[in-house]
């Protein structure tokens, strides 16, 4: 059955190769509804100008539906030709099921550093199945006007961070720290994974956790949760019911001073806010410490192994792996940083600030993404609940850490001793 399908595809590609001049339409599956205007106005026209024989349709679905819709369509054989890849295990599972094609041999893969490709590779690194597109960096965005008004400066250390927060709180005109726990994921993503690497020392701690030599109950892993518990003193009233869009709107309306952020907020914030903004990296524990940032490969693009338009789709992927795309994408979506090794000329100052941390700080990825969320219970989802619970005060950091460790050890062998 499978070999028949492969033969059919080969035949299909051979035929398509002969008839390359006929117009082919390729469809892209994505969860990035946000980018629809940019694809329609910038990216697709740029590609179609060079390749008039290929028509590209960008067909995103709402992010909450994406995985379910995509998997159903792949299983039934009706998915689009190109698939936007989530990082790590979700795409790996699709590759293992034979639904994503192997792209290891594409020449454009050489344009990307190993770390960028690692999010879309088999565990042994032998096969790469998605062309990297963008990464996101965590940090804090602050209201510069508010900082000037209160006479405070962006903090370098944790102590300075709390000193600033205390000043903002004492003044009372701004919500010191803008985050809610209703949607849970901000607490985990912009809280825990933002400041965590500082305590577990980035890659060192992350790899030790995978190897089983560190545990989530170790002080380095409990400390970020303790910090989150401390944050709750500086959040707005009723933060338990504050949703993610609420937080964004509070900040852009100028009612909050510091926003624990991901770089993806930059374009939206710049469009909405009518005050000056700045950004600072996660503060270090004491002066002179190495700083760590979460620099997370976020999305990539793969080829549907059952695509009937493989030639055209490959042509698009080649273009996607090149410099032109990197330049367009990084500048139309500042905050989604190109993963291409060739330097991109980035125009947005706030995005430049985030990107500059790569020079001074050590980069790591979110601790829960690689390998550790493969089993049930899922460590990433459990971390959402744990981080929100700690901030809500319904669990102590120690209890939350013990739960996370128990969940992980229940299925992950290296953690079972």
């Amino acid at each position: 059955m499978k070999s028949y399908a492969i033969a059919a595809i080969l035949l299909g590609t051979a035929l398509a190769g002969n008839a390359a001049l006929a117009e082919t339409t390729i469809t892209i599956e994505s969860w990035r509804n946000d980018d629809l205007p940019i694809w329609q106005k910038e990216i697709i026209p740029a590609f179609e100008k060079d390749h008039p024989d290929i028509k590209v349709v960008f067909a995103p679905s709402a992010p909450t539906e994406y995985n379910a819709a995509l998997n159903s369509k792949l299983d039934a054989g009706t998915a689009g030709d190109l698939i936007t890849c989530r990082p790590y295990d979700a795409s790996l599972a699709l590759y293992k099921k034979g639904q994503l094609a192997d792209l290891s041999d594409m020449a454009e893969m050489k344009n990307f550093p190993e770390v960028a490709k690692s999010a879309w590779q088999t565990d042994d690194g032998a096969h790469t199945f998605c062309m990297p597109m963008a990464s996101v960096i965590h940090g804090f965005i602050y209201n510069k006007d508010a900082f000037d008004e209160l006479g405070i400066t962006p903090p370098k250390t944790v102590d300075e961070f709390y000193a600033d927060l205390d000043k903002i709180k004492a003044d009372g005109s701004y919500i010191p720290l803008d985050m809610g726990t209703h949607d849970q994921w901000e607490a985990a993503t912009m809280g825990y994974q933002n400041i965590g690497p500082t305590y577990w020392k980035g890659e060192e701690g992350r790899k030790a956790l995978i190897a089983g030599t560190q545990k989530l109950t170790d002080p380095d892993w409990v400390e970020p949760l303790k910090q989150l518990a401390k944050w709750s003193n500086y959040l707005g009233d009723g933060y338990q019911a504050q949703t993610y869009p609420d937080s964004q709107n509070l900040f852009t309306l100028g009612r909050a001073a510091i926003y624990p952020a991901g770089s993806w907020e930059i374009p939206g914030f710049e469009a909405q806010a009518d005050f000056k903004m700045g950004a600072f990296a996660p503060p270090v524990q004491k002066v002179g410490d190495t700083c760590y940032i979460s620099d997370q490969p976020d999305h990539a693009m793969g080829l549907n192994a059952a695509s009937k338009n493989k030639d055209a789709a490959m042509t698009f992927l080649q273009w996607l792996g090149g410099q032109d795309f990197a330049q367009i994408y990084a500048n139309s979506l500042p905050g989604f940083f190109a993963l291409n090794s060739a330097p991109v000329d980035l125009k947005d100052p706030l995005a430049q600030e985030f990107l500059s941390w790569r020079k001074d700080c050590k980069s790591t990825i979110r601790s829960t993404y690689q390998i550790l969320s493969r089993g049930t219970p899922n460590l990433e989802n459990a971390t959402w609940a744990a981080s929100a619970n700690v901030m809500n005060g319904t669990q102590t950091p120690e209890e939350a850490a013990a739960d996370l460790q128990k969940d992980l050890a229940s299925w992950y062998k290296p953690q079972q001793n």
């Binding site: 946000d34 205007p37 995103p60 869009p245 709107n249 991901g262 374009p267």
Partner: protein
């Protein structure tokens, strides 16, 4: 018509007070949606309860809806899918309900139970199998695929409710028809159907709402530009990080109107059916 004046002043006032109170509860959130669909994003969150004023009045949401995507087409698609599915559910559902409630035959109860299974498992679970079926029949990206799914989805509830109501239709009437030599089909279409019109209208309303608001099957079965429904069209404004609330509110408040019109048509049927039934 009635013998004595059944109403007294204080009672009327009490009844209206209660109804007005609940109407306010029902409509207040709708009011919030409508006023905010006509305001700029900042104004929505700065003062969500304020009426759109000269500073805050902004039709940007409606403008986005009109320029991005093809909403008139989406509305047309939604209407076609809803109305055709509804007609099929009502006709086929009433026929099956009549068979179940009117005749005693072996397996009647089991057939009733079988036809009720559909209200016990969400049809969304069958997605992959349904999609494979539609792909095999070359029906993906057609409105037909949606109509088939919605008809199947609506039938169990329609049969369940209609058979209950059909049991209340007088046997004398039907037997009189049989004595006059009318066929069973004739009895069903001309004697029984008009009498259960209120129930049909009720079922119509219950059936159309989930169809109109469904997001899942349009996304899976017919996501192409030419077959998109309104709800699916509105979803493109809901982003991963940035949701265009102006456009979401505008498109979805526009989407209320057609269903509201259908609802009013059906509820008028409901009243008319009952009064004509009472006169008989």
């Amino acid at each position: 018509m009635s013998i004595s004046a059944r109403t007294s002043m204080p009672r009327t006032v009490a009844v209206h007070t209660a109804l007005i109170l609940y109407t306010l509860i029902a409509l207040f959130p709708v009011f919030v949606i409508l006023i905010n669909s006509m305001k700029s994003r900042k104004a929505i969150f700065r003062e969500p309860l304020a009426l759109p004023g000269p500073d805050t009045f902004d039709l940007v949401g409606f403008q986005t809806v009109l320029t991005q995507g093809n909403f008139p087409l989406y509305f047309g698609n939604s209407m076609i899918v809803t109305v055709v599915s509804l007609a099929l559910v009502l006709v086929f559902g009433a026929m099956a309900a009549f068979a179940l409630s009117e005749y005693r035959f072996r397996g009647n109860f089991l057939m009733g139970l079988y036809l009720a299974i559909g209200i016990m498992i969400p049809i969304r679970l069958g997605t992959v199998a349904i999609l494979k079926l539609m792909a095999a029949a070359h029906l993906t990206n057609t409105l037909t695929s949606l109509i088939l799914v919605y008809t199947a989805q609506g039938l169990p509830l329609a049969i369940f409710i209609l058979s209950e109501f059909m049991r209340t239709v007088s046997d004398d009437l039907k037997n009189a028809g049989r004595i006059d030599g009318l066929s069973e089909y004739w009895i069903f279409f001309t004697l029984v159907l008009p009498l259960v019109r209120p129930a049909m209208a009720t079922v119509a309303v219950f059936t159309m709402i989930p169809i109109w608001n469904d997001l899942w099957f349009p996304l899976i079965l017919a996501p192409s530009e030419s077959t998109k429904t309104v709800t699916l069209g509105a979803q493109t404004f809901i982003g991963q990080y940035v949701t265009n609330w102006n456009a979401v509110l505008a498109s979805l408040s526009l989407a209320i109107l057609p269903v509201l019109v259908l609802y009013m048509i059906f509820s008028r049927q409901l009243i008319r059916g009952i009064t004509s039934g009472a006169v008989k």
